[in-house]
């Protein structure tokens, strides 16, 4: 399982990486500090799951997701958005852009595992 975590906060990347390891998804984790950096990383890497923040400088998560969904290479790659943007209209916007699931910060390891299992089709 290869996962990329995209967040401008090194703290959040560290917390997400540690949480992924705790819940059994820590095999290989790539990192990027914003959407543009993530596109550069993904130009040379394929991943099984993308976990991205929304509110980032340079290229925000929403723009990043739209780029990803426009690339046939990543048509089916599940995307989970992990962000503070918890307003209902934001969730609808993210889902319309191609996000598969959504986690509001702060979150527990159980919630992250549940969302990952759901987008990977490991549970109903």
């Amino acid at each position: 399982m290869k996962i990329i975590t995209v967040d401008d906060s090194s703290t959040m990347r560290r917390i997400i990486k540690n949480t992924l390891k705790r819940i059994g998804y820590g095999d290989e984790i790539l990192e990027a500090g914003d959407g543009k950096e993530a596109l550069d990383v993904l130009a040379n890497n394929s991943v099984d799951l993308i976990i991205t923040d929304w509110n980032m400088p340079v290229m925000d998560g929403l723009t990043f997701v739209k780029h990803i969904r426009a690339d046939s290479k990543f048509d089916d790659t599940p995307i989970i958005m992990v962000t503070t943007e918890a307003a209902k209209e934001d969730i609808i916007t993210a889902l319309k852009a191609g996000v598969n699931n959504y986690i509001v910060k702060p979150f527990t390891p159980d919630v992250l595992k549940d969302k990952i299992d759901t987008v990977l089709g490991k549970k109903d």
Binding site: S10, N55, V104
Partner: protein
Amino acid sequence: MAKLSVEWINPFIEAAEEIMDTVAMLKLKRGKLELRENSTVAYDVSGIIGITGEAVGSIALSFPKKTAIAAVSNFIGEEVLGIDSDTTDAIGELTNMVAGRAKKIFSERNVKLKISTPNVVVGKNHTIVSPKGTPSIVIPFESDAGELAIQVALKPAV
């Protein structure tokens, strides 16, 4: 919510109390609100987030060094010893979570806001200056790890 009132401030207080409790494990005890034209915070590190939409301004989360270290250590699950780049990044993320939670509370009241990415200021007795005509409300808190404060400088968009 046509003017700056308690309705504009309470979501930030609620958000700060909730986030600091669940993420930084600090139970906050609220002090007396103060209205200031320009806010001077006698603390050492502040996370600041800009707000636009139906109201314009900023929210700042300000800590003395001791409280910042305790809050960040609890947040990341590792002991930090001082105010370094990891600590300031974590303070920015805590501020982001508070602003995001407040945004959700406003959204439930049909008030739409947008929040910027956080900036973090480090320096003893630093000053956060609100735009002219935007009053700043300072809400001090006490916790087991020490003091902290939030400052909300906000006015309804024209």
